[in-house]
């Protein structure tokens, strides 16, 4: 129906998460109608991000630089290394940073346990998490996985692993929307949830 290059653009956009065929079409024509300079800048951003950005070698958040580099939070000496906040995705780090309530460091699992999607502990950065406890002198692990059933299951699983280690394990207090994503929890709610975290038995 469309010229091959247009159809290809629509198809590629349609493969992005959360973008259906209709949105893909709308975005494609938005790009086609906008000045050539804007389109070039977008393409350059995508290429630059993909070449410059890698996973932090310590916490698996996004980091800028060669493979093996550490992120800004891990390399910041003012951060408290005794408190470690475990999240599912890099975007959750951003959400918690916005609250300004947390001065420790993070560990990004890069997902949650979900057998439906074939994701078990081996597909997540769990071993790397355990290795950090002793190496970095972590005293408290705060489990900030999403307040949905997969996030809860992941927290429960990590808690049962961590109970053998000399570390306090807490889960952010509920009060977050049930079944929600941390990303969408507003900053105040998330800040309060962090303050009211409770110890897991």
């Amino acid at each position: 129906m469309y010229a091959a290059s247009v159809q290809e653009l629509i198809d590629e956009l349609g493969r992005l998460p959360g973008i259906g065929p209709k949105s893909a079409q709308r975005i494609a024509f938005y790009i086609l109608k906008s000045p050539a300079e804007d389109a070039r800048r977008l393409a350059a951003c995508i290429t630059a991000a993909k070449t410059k950005v890698t996973w932090c070698a310590r916490c698996f958040n996004v980091a800028e630089g060669e493979a093996g580099v550490e992120c800004e939070i891990c390399t910041d000496p003012r951060r408290d290394s005794s408190a470690l906040c475990v999240v599912e995705e890099p975007r959750d780090v951003v959400a918690i940073e916005k609250t300004g309530e947390f001065r420790g460091r993070y560990h990004v699992l890069q997902g949650a346990i979900s057998p439906i999607d074939g994701i078990g502990p081996d597909q997540l950065r769990v071993r790397e998490l355990l290795a950090r406890i002793d190496a970095e002198g972590v005293k408290e692990v705060i489990l900030c996985t999403n307040p949905n059933i997969e996030g809860d299951a992941t927290a429960l699983y990590l808690a049962s692993l961590l109970k053998h280690l000399p570390v306090k394990v807490t889960r952010i207090a509920s009060g977050l929307p049930v079944g929600g994503d941390l990303e969408y929890a507003d900053e105040l709610t998330l800040g309060r949830a962090l303050e009211g975290r409770r110890e897991l038995a």
Partner: protein, 366 residues
């Protein structure tokens, strides 16, 4: 008691209707008479879609769009206590549909439920008594969902945990290795937590239904010779004993072998007995029909009392299956409020009708 009722309805390109618009009597029975295939059930189905956003026949949206059309549009004005809301539903052959209350998109089905409720009686209700346990679980779940959002949340948590546990059982291929065993513990815990809440809510509902079902059945069978005085029993039967967590862990070897969760609320039943005998197997067809009607009437009564308003009654072809005595008894025990009734021919008993219409080939005539 507040009455919720439709002032009018319009159907465009829905099933066999091109376009039809009808005004409805606020209270009492409106009878729609027509041959099989004329579109009587389609009309009730449309009302059901406006009230629940799903077909009580279990039809997917695209199946409800008239052949040759790409979109069906249903509209209705619902009034209670002098205030009116406009409900609009768009069903598309391709893509998602749209549901609006007063021109605003409905975000939660709970908002629709609190604006409008219906109770559907259909010939398929016999399955409640005669069919498999899934029909009775669905009956309980639908009633519980109409009482508020809490139950639905527990049930969807339970179903999600069950799906995850079953996926893990399949992936295990008979044996749990390494970290898998510990993640199984986690899914057991999540399933047990949500499952106990679901079973508890269903059990409490069954207890609340017992006297209502017995009373409704008594009214219905009073006229039927030889079937008076039979005691009705209604019992929620869990598929496990003791705590669900312990039961899941004890069942694990069996579950691993069969690669599916063998117990939990998804396997529970509501056992109906008549004179101490299981109605599913031992009751006569007439008794089973009366029991199914009694279950619907009891549910309707409970929703009415809890919600503070009478749901609209949709009665699809219920009289044709009943003998004259039961017809008369049902006519007497129909609660007040707006009721839309379909039949292929005028019922044998005289009904207090508020209005009457004839349906033929997608056209409705007064």
């Amino acid at each position: 008691m507040t009455i919720v009722h439709f002032d009018w309805l319009s159907l465009k390109d829905f099933r066999n209707y091109r376009f039809v618009e009808i005004a409805l009597a606020k209270e009492g029975i409106t009878l729609f008479i027509g041959a099989n295939g004329a579109g009587k059930t389609n009309l009730l189905e449309a009302v059901g879609v406006l009230a629940t956003w799903q077909s009580f026949r279990g039809a997917p949206p695209e199946a409800m769009v008239r052949e040759g059309a790409s979109q069906a549009v249903l509209r209705g004005q619902v009034s209670r206590e002098g205030r009116s809301v406009l409900v609009e539903a768009e069903l598309n052959r391709l893509g998602r549909g749209r549901l609006q209350l007063n021109h605003q998109a409905v975000r939660k089905l709970q908002d629709l439920r609190s604006a409008l409720a219906v109770t559907v009686f259909s010939p398929d209700d016999l399955e409640l008594v005669k069919g498999g346990p899934q029909h009775r679980r669905e009956y309980l779940d639908d009633l519980l969902a109409s009482f508020g959002p809490k139950y639905g949340a527990a049930r969807s948590q339970m179903e999600r945990a069950l799906k995850q546990r079953n996926a893990l059982l399949r992936a295990a291929k008979g044996a749990l290795r390494g970290a898998m065993a510990m993640t199984m513990d986690v899914w057991d815990a999540k399933l047990a937590e949500a499952g106990e809440a679901v079973a508890q809510a269903r059990q409490e509902l069954v207890e609340a239904l017992v006297p209502r079902v017995a009373a409704a059945y008594g009214r219905l069978s009073r006229w039927a010779p030889g079937s008076s005085g039979e005691a009705i029993g209604l019992q929620y039967q869990r598929s496990w004993q003791g705590g669900l967590l312990d039961a899941l862990q004890a069942a694990r070897p069996e579950d691993l072998r069969r690669a599916v969760t063998t117990l939990g609320p998804q396997r529970d039943d509501m056992v109906i007995t008549l004179g101490g005998l299981p109605a599913r197997l031992q009751a006569s067809q007439g008794e089973q029909r009366s029991l199914a009607l009694a279950l619907r009437l009891a549910g309707h009564g409970l929703v009415t009392d809890q919600g503070g308003s009478r749901p609209v009654l949709l009665l699809d072809d219920v009289f044709s299956e009943l003998d004259a005595n039961r017809c008369a008894a049902l006519a007497e025990s129909l609660p007040l409020g707006q009721a839309l009734l379909t039949a292929t021919e005028p019922p044998a008993v005289s009904l207090p009708l508020a209005a009457r219409a004839r349906v033929a080939a997608g056209v409705i005539e007064r």
